[in-house]
Symmetry: C2
Subunit: 202 residues, 2 copies
Amino acid sequence: MYKLYDFLPSGNGYKVRLLLTQLGIPFERIEMNILKGETRTPEFLKKNPNGRIPVLEIQPNVYLSESNAILFFLSDGTEFFPQESYQRAKVMQWLFFEQYSHEPNIATVRFWITELEKEEEYKSTIEQKRKLGYAALEVMENHLSSHTFFVGEKYSIVDIGLFAYTHVAEEGGFNLSRFPAIQAWIDRVKSQPNHIQITDNI
Amino acid sequence: MYKLYDFLPSGNGYKVRLLLTQLGIPFERIEMNILKGETRTPEFLKKNPNGRIPVLEIQPNVYLSESNAILFFLSDGTEFFPQESYQRAKVMQWLFFEQYSHEPNIATVRFWITELEKEEEYKSTIEQKRKLGYAALEVMENHLSSHTFFVGEKYSIVDIGLFAYTHVAEEGGFNLSRFPAIQAWIDRVKSQPNHIQITDNI
């Protein structure tokens, strides 16, 4: 059985939990307290030398890290990843957008506020990241204003990847009321079969 | 013929130029001066709403952005991308590592110093990014100390992806003499058939 090294509040971990559940693949979740440095121990660094969760243990001592790479691994050949080459590349385009332009701004601010409780201390950096995070949300809003899902008008791992931190962006102080197309898409993602919540400790 | 919207000093653009050349695929390169805002015009934002190069125009008005997604699109089914599912996922793992842990630190510092010429102004941020950039280089050095290439002991798009900004890291003040395995890998990448340099205006 797959083992998932995870941290429950993590959107990156949630992506993998959500896809595994929707694929009907059983897995064992192993909670790592990243606030206590549990992903920086010599033992964990053997699993992921970059010291981050999620890490999927596919077989004993065979590891895969980077949430969006795990989504690709689990979904290729399933209904959650397209077959046509341009659509496949567009899924990747949005997943790289997520890790470069979205997560470092939206997820990071949420983490600083809800986990580290350093909203005051990091105030000026948070302001810069809010601006970049809103720019990423604008790109999404623009796309979703004429599409039901990100690629091929069909729910796929790119929706899982972008949903994870978008639907909890307000925990980082982002106001989603300005983004009606994103809000409607969030509802569509939540209505998919076997949807679970980020707080579900499965 | 493919059109590549590009900026010659960009490592992200170079990745695509290098792979297209090694695949023997002809393309037209269209230089965009990002320093003059040429990727933020309404016309360019129709090609990539995120306002960045590289963008590959596959057919008239059919666009793909995000350098590593373009690498995936061009290489899948060729010798530059593996066929086995775990190896495919490991390529993606390292490409997401590149965009999350490597490029935002190593490439950004190089850009600020060589293009914006703001080494003094951005001094404290550069110090933070140097630390994170060196951590990414340590992860690479550790891996390359027992591997000839990143995945499957074979040159692939992950080597192209990580080579692009690593081999010019010294332009951003990173000292590569501490990383002998990276230096040897750089030489191996440079010795691949049809290698071109980042400065080659092809």
